[in-house]
Subunit: 247 residues, 2 copies
Amino acid sequence: MHFTSEQRLDDGVLEREFTLGEIPGTLWTPGSAQAPQAPQAPLVLMAHNNGLPKADPRLRARARYTASRGYAVATIDAAGCGDRPRSAADEQARADLRRAMQAGEPVDEIFESLIAPLVENAVPEWQTTLDALLELPEIGGGPVGYSGGWAALGIRLAVVEPRIAAAGFFAGGFVPRAQREEARQVTIPLLFLLQWDDTGNPRQRALDLFDAFGSKEKTLHANPGGHTGTPWFELEDGCRFLDRHLK
Amino acid sequence: MHFTSEQRLDDGVLEREFTLGEIPGTLWTPGSAQAPQAPQAPLVLMAHNNGLPKADPRLRARARYTASRGYAVATIDAAGCGDRPRSAADEQARADLRRAMQAGEPVDEIFESLIAPLVENAVPEWQTTLDALLELPEIGGGPVGYSGGWAALGIRLAVVEPRIAAAGFFAGGFVPRAQREEARQVTIPLLFLLQWDDTGNPRQRALDLFDAFGSKEKTLHANPGGHTGTPWFELEDGCRFLDRHLK
């Protein structure tokens, strides 16, 4: 893992870009001028819905806030995400998706063909990143959290990665068939965030997914409004959820 | 309003029984040995589902915790509730309800005949109590909250009582037709708490009620488990919701 740049933000959070082989990432860690590095902050992996770039302002804002609450927060552009090269099949699926959306045709099967491989390819890169991050002295070796718009990736990681101890998922994104089925195998504590009027993401499908999770502790938070209308207090609630399980 | 007894609890909360005409009530206010009375605590009205007695241990526990977080919390046994005399019609409805439940027959119409008048009769007594409480020097004249198992009473109060500025409702109780209809007229911020597997209270009906509320800010919190299984952290979340709107 090579750090390629660093910047101290005005809330004391240190933002560092890194590369790990071909994987570009960003790490935010809490600190201040007095104590530049909080010792042994628990790690939170944060991924953006369906592979949007790690530089997206909403992701950065969530990551900075979470770091300011005492967490090391990391994100990457996994294979096919952000500025990473896309496969020909991926480009084709994205073109099909645009055309179907403009024509008002069903998009479920196109999303399936686009998102399912994206999840499959992203998981090993997130695991490689997790291995490297846990070797950093400023990150505690303790339980790891996942807090992500990208629920499908989170479900897959929660199933295959025993180091992940708690997860917050955003319901507003396409979840491939495989992850809808393996939701029952997720048993870690969950916070599931739903925008009640997210027209692109059927409400009943999100409620069915919440119902399917195998976790004994799972909480649904639903708020009115569309895809990007999540109220600010849910960011606080998300950190308190992590506090209960990682601190 | 006459205080008939008082007790300082081990968390510093002062618990006082009172009567107001025929209405018996309990008031919990925050304090400590050093500062027996926190000045001007915001008021929270707390009612138990479908008229259960104000002395119920779960209600008392919620009230004490909320008071320890800086609120004056009041509850009453309204007409027909707790140990108050019941009408002949009320006794008949309760007998019908027991019989129907034992026989596995539908109970909706019996609940309707039992709960609808209970709400109608309770509202003026809660308003009389509110008038008297707001004259106490230890209660701030500011906005008032409602936090109650009894959602139907809360809906009616939120519609007729402009002094109520925010409300937390528990979904696990019968809501009469009139209150289901006037839910659209509720516009104050709401926190709506649902037990996902509450077999006596159909989930879809609760989700429909959440959908119906006219409030721009309304949040649904749903957790697995039955009627009495609400996790402890929802009590904290409920206080933080009140903090946002009353403090």
